[in-house]
Symmetry: C2
Subunit: 159 residues, 2 copies
DNA sequence: TCAATCAGGACCGCAGCGGTCCGAATGGTT
DNA sequence: AACCATTCGGACCGCTGCGGTCCTGATTGA
């Protein structure tokens, strides 16, 4: 199936939960609040911390804290942090396919990849947090969301 | 990783190859032309035939033929045929997640899913064949380069 | 010093994917 | 009618990678 890993899904849930409250929050606490198994939450948080999406405070009364506000975290970043870089096929952006010499489609996926990448960069976690589904097509909603909006045309421009 | 299955990749290669020549073509023939293992090509073609993307001619001198021109086949169709429906998470469009009652993010992925779905519907195999996706030259997309303030989801949604 | 908490792995069961193979149906060819 | 080429539908299997658990340190506040 064309789906993203469950851990990525969990990561979004955890990040949004982190934003709901100031100060540090512990893994068990978040697990209880999100109904996600505790070890899994810990694993996700460790990965996110490694990628710089959250900062950690060790020791007693430690915990995790968002590194930047939700509005500055595009979904693409979360996906890249957990699932790895977005690469639809093996031959996009650095990947090497064993038949790339012979394959007539070599490199043809790049634009598609760019399109999806741009789309995922244009949606932040803040949007997902307080967005009602289908609101994306309403002009009123679209009007006031702009951050990182330049990425899409730029990606398109160099096609 | 966030990638589509190799079989889907192969399907695109096979479909484009089918379009390069009129009349029916056999699995071994296509396999030889695309450098993809023959049984795999056969499997892909069988799946595609089942989904109605290609038509099959049985018996001697049989083979496969495109059901519709490349320009009428969006990438989304190929993905849906091989990989199954596009569903980023378990809770989108009919899918049910075990924690959908408790999860605060339930349903929030739908817009993201729709955005990607729209993007993949806006690019046809003919576009990929010519390496310059027509979707990116559409007024709706190019206009945003000047208007500024446009974001990926909106541009994608208009495709 | 002790308890709480994160860090970084090792570890495992398992679904699903990539890939192969075979028998049966089908329709030309002779 | 007999034969052969080719597709069809499905069974089959090894293996990767994912979801999930657990353990052993390192770090910090009380
Ligand atoms: S499009 Fe061709 S070169 Fe690229 S990953 Fe697919 S088979 Fe390999
Ligand atoms: S967002 Fe929530 S309800 Fe939807 S699939 Fe993820 S965990 Fe389940």
């Amino acid at each position: 199936m064309f789906k993203l890993s469950k851990l990525t899904d969990y990561a979004v849930v955890v990040l949004v939960r982190l934003a709901r409250q100031d100060g540090v929050q512990t893994s068990p606490g978040i697990a209880a609040a999100t109904f996600i198994p505790e070890p899994t939450v810990a694993k996700v948080l460790k990965t996110l911390a490694g990628k710089g999406l959250v900062t950690s405070q060790r020791g007693a009364h430690g915990g995790y804290r968002l590194a930047r506000p939700l509005a500055a975290i595009p979904v693409a970043d979360v996906i890249a942090a957990i699932d790895g870089p977005i690469a639809l096929t093996a031959c996009v952006e650095g990947g090497s396919c064993e038949s790339e010499r012979l394959c007539p489609m070599h490199g043809r996926w790049d634009p598609v990849n760019e399109a999806i990448d741009a789309a995922l960069h244009g949606i932040t976690l803040a949007d997902m947090d307080h967005a009602i589904p289908r609101a994306f097509r309403e002009p009123a909603f679209v009007a006031h969301r702009d951050e990182s909006g330049a990425s899409a045309p730029e990606a398109v421009a160099r096609l």
